[in-house]
Amino acid sequence: MAEVLWHLGGSSDNWDHLKETVLGRYLKGSVILVFGTLILSVCVGVSTAWLVVCCEFPGRRFFEWALILPLTIPTFIAAYAYFDFLDKLTPALIWVRLNISPDAMITFGDILRYAVTILVLSFVLYPYVYLMARSAFSRQGSRYLEASRTLGHGPFSTFWRVALPLARPAIVAGASLVVMETLNDYGAVQHFGVPTFTTGIFRTWTALNDMPGALRLAAFLMLFILFILLIEKLLRSGARYHGDKTTGLAFQRYSLGKFKTFAAVFCCIIPLAFGFIIPVTRLVLWAFEALENNFDKTHFIKLTLNSVGLAVAASLAVAITALFLVYVARYFKSYIIHVSNRLAILGYSVPGAVIAMGILFVSGQINDVFDFIITGSLLTLGFAYLIRFLAVAWQSIDSGMERNCEQYNEASKSLGASAFISLFKVNVPLLWNAVLVAGLLVFIDIMKELPLTLILRPFDFETLSTRTFDLAYQSQIPESSVPALCIIIAILVPVIWLNRKMESE
């Protein structure tokens, strides 16, 4: 990050050209995309979470878990599943050109492009908000909602005045994940032709062959993210949003009338349909089509092994590193270790393309100094995953250690055990579950990851996601559906398992 930020004031041959022509467009594109996706994701995520937690309607229990399924679809695969969506709107564009003006058609075309990208991203990213909001509404428990009801307030008023403000920190946390994922996305925005910082970084680097210019764009993206993180911090501070404890009493859900029941089912079925059912159905149909044509099964098995092997190895490394960092911070309670832990997990806020730029720069210097080429190796890629996804594992293990191990570590210390003994005899057995969850979360993220892998993978090394991207880039959408479906299937099982675990907790 420091390496990238260092280039904020650096020089580049094309910088003046970039500044005059595309920097404004990248900024505008990123802002529109982030705010559009954010608003739609929050609306869908919060409303569906409220419905499944607080209202009773047919299919509620099904929707409770089914609404997380879009989480299994990487954004770029969702974009490919809707690849022809814009084409279907061409008659409308022609109508605008003929009846209004060619300029109006261009403007209308831009609006459609943004609208479709925002819709596609929102319908696969809303589960981040949904999961956080669902958990917050459930944790609020019965007492605040019941208190509101006994004071004369109906469901709508209770939602606006009590449930929503109390869930605000959780919703902001979910929304910030949506923002980070939107800024990180490369495949979807590249496919729909929306200019953002990420596409700009790739274009400047690959098309203009201007690494310093790309680094400078990455630095601007970092500033944009720091600004968003600041807003998030401000939104989450202020009044207290949680009570001292929650009750175990089950909430008597609002029973809905006929019209409201229909509206609730409709509200839940739309995001599920657009975020999962339609894209997966299209991918399955295309996959059958591709399998009937000369599909290279041997190569495909190699791709799957590459992807799963890389994801398993990297998630293991990330989970073990996170366990070590959390343990050291909690056992020794040193301020410096605490701060360095916090710095280490900042990587999740940084888009993959930016991390890749930073790592390429650093690894280039290592190559020069030690005369040993690490650029383009699996080691560099693994290190990039570690930086990007350490926070995911860290959060899970840290909360597990806070819940389970704090007092036992004190007891272990008082019995004269060393830090090493405490780690392996006390913490590891107690944290086994948390480490497993951490590993699975990282596995899911790595399976879905594209920009980092695309930039840092070794020469001729392909994964399911890079293959999907390459095939789609060559307009072989039906062929790209097979690796895309494999990614979804690989993610589906851990996602459902994790959701069950969350519900039981």
């Binding site: 019941e146 004071l151 008023s157 949003y241 009570g243 008597q252």
Partner: protein, 334 residues
């Protein structure tokens, strides 16, 4: 006075395999009355309160409030439409709102600013209006929750273990305050408590709950001195449950379902040392003192007779030592 609340054969079962949480409970509450529902943990008192508030739907039976039936076969008047307000055990003050915002939250509180000001004065929490719940003490939170509920001017105020979070000294003060507020605001209140002292000091009427059933309904003193079974007797503190034939002069007795015997409940303070006059005809109990425990102003003596163990409370000045022989008689005037 009219019946404000009437429960008829109300039954609620959470799980088909378990006994009902509330089992055919019937009682009524008059306007202006303060009714206490007491019982140990799991006796069904909180479920009963939640049914009255509309937060739970009864499986059977009828709840009538202000002459209006609150539940039919499948439909229930929702809590927000009932003319009652509930003070939760942990107060449930909204943590994102100030005291003022909490109190003004009730839908019916909007036009009651004069009443709210009066309640703030009465409860002496006017200075806390701009504070958040986590910035005030437990006792103050309890008062805010009470004011919030009263500000909606409900016909019936429901309180779930209103004093359970307070320390003993504060609890005595709050009991007096609550009674004063109920009197000044002419409130009809129903509260549940596991602490019989709350019922004895605050209620006009007591309902004793055991295993989901209302086993006794009456005035607090009536339930205290004339319990309907051994559970109701022991709920109000230590007592000696003796066969009726041992103390024929005891004014009350009940049939114990377990032993099938008629028992009397003699409280530890209802014993005395026989005097030369007046209790020659009273049955006396002689035994050996097994323990002597000082309990502040009095001492608790456990005496073993040939047939039973007796618990006796005597003033501290009474000289007693372990191993001494003691004779006591029932003091029917105590």
């Amino acid at each position: 006075m009219n019946n404000l609340l009437e429960l008829s054969e109300v039954t609620k079962r959470y799980d088909a395999g378990l006994p009902p949480a509330v089992d055919r409970v019937s009682f009524s509450c008059l306007e202006g009355q303060i009714l206490a529902v007491i019982g140990s943990s799991g006796s069904g008192k909180t479920t009963l309160l939640r049914i009255i508030a509309g937060l739970e739907m009864p499986d059977l039976g009828r709840v009538t409030l202000n002459g209006e039936t609150m539940n039919s076969q499948n439909e229930c008047v929702p809590p927000e439409s009932r003319d009652c307000s509930l003070v939760f055990q942990d107060y449930a003050l909204f943590p994102n709102m100030t005291v003022q915002q909490n109190v003004a939250y009730g839908k019916a509180s909007k036009n009651n600013s004069e009443l709210i000001d009066r309640l703030f004065d009465l409860t002496k929490i006017g200075d806390l209006k701009n504070r958040y719940p986590h910035q005030i003490s437990g006792g103050e939170q309890q008062r805010v929750a009470l004011v919030r509920a009263l500000a909606t001017q409900p016909s019936l105020l429901l309180l779930d273990e209103p004093l359970s979070h307070l320390d003993p000294e504060l609890r005595n003060n709050v009991r007096c305050e609550l009674l004063n507020i109920f009197r000044v605001t002419n409130t009809t209140a129903l509260f549940v408590s596991h602490d019989t002292e709350d019922a004895l000091t605050m209620a006009n009427q007591v309902v004793v709950m055991q295993n989901g059933k209302a086993v006794q309904i009456g005035s607090p003193m009536d339930v205290y001195s004339n319990p309907s079974n051994s559970y109701a007797a022991m709920l109000f503190g230590k007592t000696n449950l003796l066969p009726r034939e041992l103390i024929p002069s005891a004014p009350y007795s009940f049939l114990d379902e377990d032993s099938g015997k008629e028992l009397v409940s003699i409280r530890p303070h209802q014993w005395m040392v026989p005097t030369s006059t007046g209790n020659e005809n009273m049955p006396s109990f002689t035994g050996t003192i097994r323990s002597v425990n000082p309990k502040g102003a009095h001492q608790e003596i456990v005496m073993e007779t040939e047939t039973t163990l007796l618990t006796i409370h005597f003033p501290r000045v009474f000289s007693a030592a372990i191993g001494d022989t003691l004779t006591v008689v029932f003091n029917k005037d105590s």
